[in-house]
Each structure stands twice: as C-alpha cells, then as structure tokens.
C-alpha cells in the first residue's frame, strides 16, 4: 500500500513540475514572465490531482474486485 501512496505523491508533484516547466518555457518565449507561469502551474496542479484521483479509483476497483472474489469463493 505504501507503494500506491508513493505513486500518488510522485504523480501530484510531477504534474506541478511539468505545468511549471511549460509555463516558464512559454513565458521565456513570449516574454510575459509571471502570467503563463502561474496559469500553467495551476493547470499542472489540477492535472496532478486528476491523475492521482484516477490512481485512487484504480485502487478502489482492485479492492472491490478482490472483495467480490472473496464473497464468491
């Protein structure tokens, strides 16, 4: 289970970092420093949360499947 927790933490952080990178890159290209940085860091955070929630859903599905198996067996 610790493994799953690690996976979620990394997904969350990776989302923010990627968003930050994209925003900073766009600002560097266009020269509007804080605007895209803030925008894309926020989007990255949302993306991270989404990925994390999807992983949580996956874990839940796995548990439900296991519980159903146990009931049958």
């Amino acid at each position: 289970m610790a493994n799953m927790a690690w996976r979620m933490v990394i997904e969350l952080v990776a989302g923010i970092v990627i968003g930050f990178g994209i925003g900073y890159g766009l600002d560097w290209l266009i020269g509007t420093l804080p605007i895209f940085l803030i925008l894309f860091t926020g989007l990255g955070f949302v993306a991270g949360v989404r990925t994390m929630m999807r992983t949580a859903q996956e874990v839940q599905n796995m548990h439900m499947a296991r519980a159903a198996d146990e009931k049958e067996g």
Partner: protein, 260 residues
C-alpha cells in the same frame, strides 16, 4: 564528558551514502564519455548475462518435469503473460515480449544491485528515464497507428460542457505527460532511497570501535536495522519491477482502447 565522547564518535564515523551511485570508468581514469566502459555498463551487461542464463540456458532442457532453473523461467513467463492478458486484454498479448523484456531487465538489475559492492543500474534516473521514454513513445505511436486521429479523443472529454473542454484538454495533455515522469522517478527513487538508507545505517555500525559506551547499544541496533531494510529492499526490488511492468500494460491498454 558525554558530549565529548559523542563529538569524538561523530568525527570518527564516515558517512558516504551516495558514493555507491558514482559512475566510474573501469579501465583507466579520465572523463566518462559516450562509449566509456563504466561500472554501469558492467552491471547492465551482467544483468543481461543472468537473464540469458535463466531464460535460455535454464529452460534449454524443456523437461516435462522442470528442473529448478527451468521452473524459475516458466514461473516468470507465466506470471507476466497472465498479467498482460488480465490488464491489457487478448489483443495486448502481441506486445508481451516487450513487457517481458522490461520486467526481466529491471528485476534482475534490482536483485544484482542488492549484492554487496554491486552497482545498481536502476537507481540512475538516466537508465529508468530511457526505459520510461521508450514506453511512452511506443504507446503514443501505437495509439495513433491503431486509432488514427481518434486517439486524440482521449484529451477531448465529450461529457463536459463545451466551454470547459479546451481547458480540460490542456489539463489532460499535461496529465498525459505526467506518466513517463512518474514512471521513471518512482523506480529510480525507490532503488536509490533504499540503498542510501542501508549505507547510512552501515555508517553507524562501527561505532563500538570508537566509543564502547554508546557503541554497545548502537552497533547491534544498526546491524539489525540493516538486516530489516535489506529484507524490505528485496521485496521492493521485485515490487518495483512488477509496478513498472503493470503500468506499461495499463498505458498499452489505454492506447489500444482509448474510449474507456
């Protein structure tokens, strides 16, 4: 008095937990360049050799009642085959050789890295990132080949209101790029953390030689801790290889069937 001995002890202990991850050339000194043969090259080569011995030489007898090495090979094959079939479905079995290759390389490299004095190739983000990027590119290309531009519908959520869809598409694209990053960091991070923790405990072990007072307590404790962490690392080595393989399967499933 107590503080004095403590200070002395700290001066005598040697902490170099990250030295084990240094890439050094095997022959002669000098900078590491593209084709320099380093300890990383050696241990990757050894992993390939071990896989060859297990899977090719071990299973060569093809006995009906398998020998020990043949059953290892058969167990690994059956385990991964069933995983690919369960997660990806029947049409994912065509990509089984790729996933088997990834799994065997990672699991053997992880286990070899646990040997004393060994170099853990999978603790380097350079190694894991190449594998994760290969999976990412392969899966993306496969998605486009199999579904054409329909593959882009992964990013276009048709259940959301029209105004929100471009923003959601942006978020989906970013979360698509989270995959290779988390895929590679998890493996490298897990391997590096475990090995570094073992080294930190190992640095405390010779304390009894420096100051007998605290050392009598700390040395057995640290040796016990090394044993426990080592056992955990054996487990982590296998689990991380399994997680890498199963995530590859999940990404493959998403590429083959993007609509759910």
């Amino acid at each position: 008095m107590a503080t004095e001995t403590h200070g002395e002890a700290e001066a005598g202990l040697v902490f170099h937990p990250m030295d084990q991850f240094q890439v050094t050339p095997l022959f002669g000194a000098g900078p590491v360049e593209w084709f320099t043969i380093t300890n990383a090259t050696l241990w990757m080569g050894l992993s390939i050799l071990v896989i060859f011995v297990i899977l090719v030489l071990g299973a060569r007898g093809r006995a009906l009642v398998p020998t020990r090495s043949q059953s290892i090979a058969e167990l690994a094959y059956g385990f991964i085959y069933k995983m690919v079939e369960d997660v990806t479905g029947k049409d994912g079995v065509a990509y089984f050789p790729y996933i088997m290759t990834l799994f065997m390389f990672i699991v053997v490299a992880n286990f070899l890295g646990l040997l004393p004095m060994a170099f853990t190739t999978t603790s380097h983000i350079a190694v894991t990132a190449v594998m994760a990027m290969a999976v990412f590119l392969a899966v993306t290309v496969l998605g486009f080949v199999k579904n054409g531009f329909g593959f882009l519908s992964v990013f276009w959520i048709s259940s959301a209101p029209l105004i929100l869809r471009p923003i959601l598409a942006l978020i989906e694209v970013i979360s698509y790029f989270v995959r290779p990053v988390s895929h590679s960091i998890r493996l490298a991070g897990n391997m590096m953390a475990g090995h570094a923790v073992i080294k930190v405990f190992a640095a405390f072990a010779p304390l009894v030689l420096i100051s007998t007072g605290i050392g009598l307590v700390v040395t057995p404790l640290s040796i016990l801790a090394i044993t426990a962490i080592y056992a955990l690392e054996v487990l982590v080595s296998f689990i991380q290889a399994y997680v890498f393989a199963i995530l590859t399967c999940v990404y493959l499933r998403d590429a083959l069937h993007p609509h759910h």
